[in-house]
């Protein structure tokens, strides 16, 4: 007998923000895959719990905060049991049981049971007038009781407590906030920030007690007072408890699932039972239980990807805590936690009590670890981005606190890159919003419906508005920022692909076939350099596309003479070489002989026409001091002689320099090898640097010590010279392929990110390492000393100086 295949049965326990979002994400990916049943203890559709405070303080009506009203579930074929608490999960029969006796079988089960308010052991808490503040029902109860009260005490000085306090203020009560700890909002603020906030709140008329513990509620039947630990009695008419939340784990515990502070899940949000998952406040992932909306939504996205098999490789790896909120109308941005602070971290603080402004940043390794901005959210978007992306910070810390211009400045929204998150809560990028605008969504609300941007904390809505103003009805953005050179309208990767595909081997050919009809010196030079890296020695060398330095392989000086720097590997020279250098300098009347920063010798002030003879008599190859290529690998003495040496820096430096000499790159590349962590060769500020440690070498990349100073990032540690050379080659090849023309490695490494580079080059996440190794090997093989053109010039007048003309 034929049967239609049954849909997989998905049951979700919990209809809060996590459960509701999960259903949405699943329906978006595969609406027909599951027969979905949702149980929610509250008798409503799914609403935005964050906005409850607005309901309490009267700025929004309950209907306005619903995300998915009851009708939505019907329309989407989701069975919702609203107001039915689940009492048991039977893992053997794979059935979920509701308090009304209903039993629903499941193939997959998601627990999104959220949290409940923590109620401290207060004597007398059963009196009338004591409330918690978690649900819509709580809101209504508090509001109606407040109508008959004059005074209220809020227990708990965290975000929720302060929001409750504000709500009570609007009901015209005299409000007192009682906090156990030393300051308010201990999760988001440090003591000074907390004190600043307290002053601001007190100025609003709220009384604040810190370091105070309430032990009992007093009164006959209704609340009349509370008693503190020190015995004082404080009169009041109602008490709102917001002392924290505790994850709802009883269901999971009873079902035998491992629970610590919350239900344990792995990177797939799966519990010990492969058919049972958990998301949201009831889940504990890698030791963290999240109470903020953005991480929870990230979890829902990953779980939806996994359940629908849209992205089976999706994993949740944890979230960085960045929140942006208004507490009692005061702007607050909170990033990470100051409790992670270590003694040698950099702390930048700005405090302006007169305006109630307090800003603090915790910085480590030039990355933002934690931060808070209270009272003034200038630059909030930029800081949130730097925090979430773990980006390097500008040196001028004041700019971080007071404005970097750029994306925050008016009229510059067009400069924001497409992959930048505009809405951090929902992870909506600028590109996505622009797409929505192009699809015809031309208002903030329309964009909110289409993309969810602005439906979390709402802090980005003004920026979304500016994007709408900038892009609605406007032509496309100027794409030329991505082009490799101005004359060819293609980004580097595409340009290389076209050059390879069409077999274009000369600058003229590229300009002719791919150019936009214009021509300029930079384009010619950039393309010439690109062709050399693509084809190595197999290309048509149009010398007129080269800069003069690359035509004659020497560095032009301000008076039209040239400088000659022969190669001195690893900075080690022999007396015999020194003699030759001296002889040549004298014979050709060099004006100066100078030791360079690259640990070699520069002969300055020679004539172009003497270059071939100079090279011949030096008998040393080119040091490439004049071009965008591998320059040097400086060394310190290392184990060869130094009493502190741990590694043979000289040997490594010479090997590296011999292998990679003259290879061309988007810009010059300078290396160094230090034989011990004293780092005498300054390897940490080099494009690629090696520092010997006890059992090998640290390989650093992206350092710089020129007009920009940057410490290199650790790419990896290796044991042998061979490994160091191999990873160097890989990094070099990757830089050749993906670096922009004239982009130094410090900018390149920052742009790509050291984590990503490590994944690609060390862990081989893209599977291209073998290819990179082969490509750099080919470049090494194809290398030819350019000074050999001294013997075999490419043109009889390659090095010709001014030619005297016979006059009539």
């Amino acid at each position: 007998m034929a049967t239609t295949p049954r849909k997989e049965r998905l049951v979700i326990v919990g209809n809060g923000m996590a459960g509701g979002r999960l259903v949405e994400e699943i329906l978006q990916r595969d609406p027909d895959r599951f027969a979905i049943t949702v149980f929610g203890a509250e008798p409503y559709g799914n609403y935005n719990r964050i906005l409850l405070s607005n309901v309490l303080n009267g700025t929004q009506r309950p209907e306005e905060i619903f995300l998915n009203p009851l009708s939505w579930y019907r329309e989407h074929g989701v069975a919702l049991h609203a107001g039915v608490r689940v009492t048991k999960v039977d893992r053997t029969r794979k059935v979920v049981r509701g308090e009304n006796g209903i039993e629903v079988p499941y193939d997959r089960l998601v627990l999104a049971t959220g949290s409940s308010p923590f109620v401290p052991p207060l004597e007398g808490r059963e009196r009338e007038g004591v409330f918690v503040f978690r649900t819509l029902d709580d809101c209504e109860a508090i509001a109606s009781y407040a109508a008959q009260s004059r005074r209220a005490v809020v227990l708990g000085g965290g975000l929720l407590g302060l929001e409750a306090a504000r709500g009570l203020l609007t009901h015209r009560l005299a409000v007192t906030v009682v906090e156990l700890g030393s300051h308010l909002m201990a999760q988001q603020l440090d003591p000074e920030g907390g004190k600043m906030l307290q002053r601001t709140i007190e100025a609003m008329g709220i009384t604040v007690f810190t370091e105070t513990l309430a032990t009992a509620v007093l009164g006959d039947r209704r609340v009349e007072a509370i008693r503190f630990k020190d015995g004082t009695v404080y009169e009041t008419d109602m008490v709102v408890i917001s002392c924290g939340i505790r994850p709802n784990v009883e269901l999971a515990k009873a079902a035998g699932l491992p629970v610590e502070r919350a239900i344990l899940v792995d990177d797939r949000l799966q519990t010990e039972d492969p058919d049972i998952y958990a998301v949201g406040e009831c889940a504990q992932h890698r030791g963290t239980v999240y109470g903020l909306v953005a991480p929870i939504w990230e979890q829902c996205v990953v779980l939806a990807d996994l359940l629908t098999e849209t992205r089976p490789e999706a994993r949740y790896l944890g979230s960085k805590l960045a929140t942006r909120l208004k507490v009692l109308g005061v702007n607050l941005v909170s990033l990470g936690s100051f409790r992670d602070a270590r003694p040698d971290d950099e702390m930048v603080t700005y405090s302006e009590p007169g305006r109630g402004v307090y800003k603090r940043l915790l910085i480590r390794n030039n990355r933002l670890i934690a931060g808070c901005l209270l009272g003034d959210e200038t630059n909030a978007e930029e800081l949130i981005r730097l925090f979430s992306e773990d980006g390097p910070l500008p040196e001028d810390r004041a700019r971080l606190l007071f404005g970097l211009g750029g994306s925050s400045a008016p009229g510059e929204v067009t400069q924001i890159p497409d992959d930048r998150f505009i809405c951090s809560c929902n992870q909506v990028t600028k590109g996505r919003i622009c797409q929505a605008i192009r699809e015809g969504h031309a208002t903030v609300s329309a964009i909110a419906s289409a993309t969810k941007a602005g439906t979390g904390c709402g802090g980005c809505r003004s920026l979304v508005q500016r994007l709408v103003e900038a892009y609605a009805g406007e032509a496309a953005l100027d794409p030329s920022v991505d082009w490799y050179v101005p004359a060819v309208p293609l980004a580097k990767e595409e340009l290389v692909a076209e050059i390879t595909r069409r077999g274009l081997r000369s600058v003229s050919a590229v300009l002719q076939e791919l150019g936009n009809g214009s021509e300029d010196p930079e384009s010619k030079m950039g393309l010439a350099s690109l062709l050399r890296s693509v084809w190595n020695d197999q290309y048509v060398d149009e010398r007129d596309s080269r800069f003069i330095n690359d035509r004659v392989h020497a560095n032009i000086q301000k008076d039209g003479t040239f400088s000659v720097v022969p190669r001195i590997y690893g900075g080690v020279v022999t007396p015999e070489q020194l003699r030759r250098i001296a002889d040549v300098a004298e014979k050709y009347r060099a004006r100066m002989v100078k030791i360079t920063g690259g640990q070699r010798i520069d002969i300055l002030g020679v004539r172009k026409e003497d270059l071939p003879a100079i090279w011949r008599e030096l008998g040393m190859p080119s040091g490439h001091a004049y071009t965008k290529a591998f320059r040097t690998c400086k060394t310190c003495v290392g184990t060869e002689f130094c009493r502190f040496g741990v590694g043979d820096a000289i040997s490594l430096g010479i090997q590296v320099e011999k292998r990679f000499q003259g290879i061309e790159f988007p810009h010059k590349v300078k290396l160094a090898a230090s034989g011990c962590p004293r780092n005498c060769a300054e390897a940490s500020t080099k494009d690629i640097g090696y520092i010997a440690v006890e059992d090998g070498w640290e390989v650093l990349v992206g350092g710089a010590a020129g007009s920009t100073v940057r410490k290199g990032d650790l790419l990896c540690k290796v044991k042998t010279h061979e490994e160091a050379i191999r990873i160097t080659g890989r990094f070099m090849e990757y830089y050749r392929r993906h670096g922009k023309y004239r982009e130094r490695t410090h900018a390149f490494v920052e742009r790509i990110g050291i984590e990503r580079l490590r994944q690609i080059l060390v862990e081989d996440s893209e599977g291209i390492c073998a290819e990179l190794d082969a490509a750099i090997e080919e470049a090494v093989r194809a290398y030819r000393d350019p000074w050999l053109e001294g013997q075999e010039p490419v043109h009889p007048r390659q090095f010709a100086g001014p030619e005297l003309v016979v006059l009539p």
């Binding site: 214009s518 149009e542 100086g801 030619e803």
Partner: protein
């Protein structure tokens, strides 16, 4: 330097009698590049573009006297190798400077180059 003294007089050109001077073979100039000829004391940069055009200018950038002959040619201009200033090959005009670079008529015949040059300038002091 003789060339600098010459530049000081640039705006005070007089109608001088001119003569044609043969510079040698066209092929001495690599395609797309420039080469410098000393005509008397004056250094003249002669350019041969990929399209086959010929231009001749003083080998002296109005910025800081850089050797234009070693520059890179693109779209009818040469970029001075010292700081990249662009000089129009036909007119000698440079967007950043009021001074024009002096240009000379130049032509090719039977593979040889002929430069038209003011005689007075050609017989200056001995080149260094």
């Amino acid at each position: 330097m003789a060339e600098r003294e010459y530049m000081a007089d640039l705006l005070k050109w007089q109608a001088e009698p001119e003569k044609e001077v043969c510079l040698g073979d066209l092929e001495t100039i690599p395609l797309g590049e420039g080469r410098v000829f000393l005509v008397g004391t004056q250094a003249v940069a002669v350019f041969r573009t990929r399209k086959g055009e010929l231009f001749a200018l003083d080998n002296y950038c109005p910025h800081q006297g850089g050797p234009l002959g070693d520059g890179l040619v693109a779209a009818g201009k040469v970029a001075c190798p010292l700081h990249g200033w662009l000089v129009d090959l036909k007119t000698g005009a440079c967007p950043h400077s009021a001074q024009r670079v002096r240009t000379y008529p130049i032509r090719e015949e039977n593979g040889r180059l002929y430069l038209t040059f003011p005689v007075a300038l050609a017989h200056g002091p001995e080149p260094f």
